[in-house]
């Protein structure tokens, strides 16, 4: 997903404590996919209620959001809207990959190989309208703002960050940097661990911050050129050029200045119009119709919502107690008022 330019990007390690007090625009679908991928039973089955509805995403969203609030982080979830036309091919490919993994997961289950089954299952996470509307409903009950992006969520998050309404965009993908977010926070929504299905290992994940200005100055290029680098490697809106990885792409763009010049000098056949892809990143469809208000949670409403989906009352109540404490802390003034 996104674009594979990670190895070029300078980053600094951060932590939930260091992010305290900051508003972060979280890529909601990205977070929900992670919850659906990881929060599973050992054989790879999603958590479901008695009626068969998936609940992994609600579990993740509920506890992780409480965790943010406890650390004084102000989360805003940004939901994707209609994808740009150029993304259709990527989406179709993703669907096919999921089908393939679903088949392999079933086969592994039939063979009784649970380790393999889990590995395959995490690649099958699928988000539908119900999952999205339930997620929004839970956030509303929790008093946490969410924003409906007209198109790409990361573009919307980047827009909000560039306006200074939030401190950073938070996603695993790097696209929001291309969309112009001054800062990107990664490894935020997964609870400290990342599961690598191919290797079958779990690794500790520490939040990290990538700053666009530092990336650009360390690479010695402009944002437009970073977009060109990404296009050579491949983005959600275009296939990359075969045989060109991030390092080569950077070298080429630095030498020739732009993707058009690289194509001319190296006689490369592009299967896409760079100007069209560039436009998506530079002039994305965004909305300024959003309000960032963290309201009082509806405790009884959350409880009812969760219990209706067969969450344990005891655990939900413990969560609500943490939420109550976290929200109460927010109601304090800042000492800064009396210091400066």
């Amino acid at each position: 997903m996104g674009t594979n330019i990670g190895e070029l990007l300078k980053r600094e390690t951060s932590s939930l404590t260091k992010l305290s007090g900051k508003a972060l625009a979280i890529d909601a679908l990205n977070a929900i996919y992670q919850f659906l991928a990881i929060i599973r039973l050992p054989n790879g089955t999603l958590l479901r209620d008695r009626r068969g509805r998936a609940t992994s995403h609600l579990m993740g969203l509920f506890y992780r959001t409480i965790n943010f609030l406890e650390h004084g982080i102000k989360p805003i979830y940004v939901f994707d809207g209609r994808p740009p036309r150029l993304k259709e091919k990527t989406l179709e490919e993703r669907r096919l990959i999921k089908e393939k993994f679903s088949r392999e997961w079933r086969e592994a289950l039939e063979q009784g190989d649970m380790v393999k089954a889990f590995k395959k299952s995490v690649m099958t996470a699928h988000v539908d309208d119900v999952i999205i509307s339930e997620s929004k409903e839970l956030l509303t009950l929790m008093g946490v703002p969410w924003v409906q992006a007209p198109s790409e969520g990361e573009a919307q998050a980047a827009y909000m960050a560039s306006r200074g309404d939030v401190w950073a965009s938070a996603s695993q993908d790097y696209d929001s940097l291309l969309f112009g977010a001054p800062r990107l926070v990664r490894n935020l929504t997964i609870a400290g661990k990342k599961y690598y299905p191919k290797k079958g290992i779990v690794e500790d994940l520490i939040p990290e911050v990538i700053r666009l200005d530092e990336v650009l100055s360390s690479l010695g290029i402009t944002r437009e050129q970073l977009i060109d680098v990404a296009m050579l490697v491949g983005t959600d809106y275009n296939e990359g050029v075969k045989g060109i990885g991030p390092k080569t792409a950077l070298k080429l763009i630095k030498r020739y200045g732009s993707i058009e010049e690289v194509v001319r000098a190296r006689r490369i056949e592009l299967g896409f119009d760079p100007e069209e892809v560039r436009r998506i990143f530079l002039n994305p469809e965004v909305s300024d119709q959003y309000e960032l208000i963290w309201g009082e949670p509806e405790y009884a409403g959350i409880r009812e919502f969760m219990l209706e989906r067969d969450f344990s009352a005891e655990r939900v109540d413990r969560g609500l107690e943490r939420l109550r404490k976290a929200v109460e802390r927010w109601r304090s003034e800042s000492l800064i008022r009396w210091i400066s």
Binding site: T17, R329, R331, S332, E333, S334, L335
Partner: protein, 250 residues
């Protein structure tokens, strides 16, 4: 160079524990005549202001002022089993990036703690003129706070000429502790102007709990909708907390 010796290691752990209620990475300011720290919690709601003059130590050597940053929670982990009759020696070893802790009791225990990078400046103390001053027994204050925490997430402090009231109410009920000027728990009440403010119990409870073993006496100072100052006088030195008031919507 910095080196110091404290007669009661457990007392020192208590002080570090009080600091740890607000900060993880603590930057201590060490000069020829004192060991101090002033820091806010990450949400900037509370501040701890701690100071121990060199005279409070058995031995104190510091030839040039230095800042030392350590993770206090890690320090507390190392000191989990200290005894009152153990003597603590600290030595800053900048050459190897460590703070060496030596506990001398029935035998010698050596620990070392990694030094961290010092980031940021020490904040100034809040400027407030307090209208209410209450000098009282720490355990009585702790009891009032603990009671309040049973029913609510925040607590109201009210002071009039001869009375200090701590009250809280929540869904399950309400709690009120009344300290009149002549009650046993009170040493002195002086109120220039009737004052009331509400504070977060999560912070307050941790601060008062941590201070209970360190100082028998607490000085509570506040004004209407202004930050609170909790002063726990040390035999030699000072431990003070500041806590911002709750935003009152009504």
């Amino acid at each position: 160079m910095f080196r110091a010796k404290i007669a009661d290691a457990k007392y020192w752990r208590g002080l570090m524990n009080a600091i740890s209620t607000l900060v993880d990475e603590a930057t201590f300011n060490i000069t020829e005549d004192k060991f101090s720290l002033r820091a806010m919690d990450s949400s900037h709601i509370a501040m701890v202001d701690f100071e121990m003059p060199s005279a409070a130590f058995e031995e104190f050597v510091c030839d040039t002022p230095v800042k030392m940053t350590v993770n206090v929670n890690e320090m507390l982990k190392l000191m989990r089993n200290v005894k009152s009759d153990e003597v603590l020696e600290m030595e800053l070893r900048e050459d190897v990036g460590k703070l060496v802790l030596r506990l001398r009791g029935r035998y010698v225990r050596n620990f070392s703690l990694a030094l961290l990078d010092t980031a940021g400046e020490e904040p100034p103390t809040p400027k407030i003129s307090f209208k209410a001053h209450v000098q009282m027994a720490t355990d009585a204050l702790k009891q009032a706070i603990t009671d309040a925490a049973r029913v609510a997430e925040n607590v109201r402090f009210e002071a009039t000429k001869d009375q200090f009231v701590v009250k809280a109410s929540g869904d399950i009920g309400s709690v009120e502790a009344v300290f009149s000027a002549d009650s046993d728990a009170i040493r002195e009440i002086s109120v220039e102007e009737d004052s009331k403010a509400t504070f977060n119990l999560d912070y307050l409870e941790e601060m008062v709990k941590a201070a209970t073993g360190i100082s028998d006496e607490a000085i509570v100072e506040f004004s209407t909708n202004m930050p609170l100052r909790l002063d726990f006088p040390l035999t030699t030195g000072a431990l003070r907390f500041y806590l911002a008031p709750r935003i009152e919507s009504e």
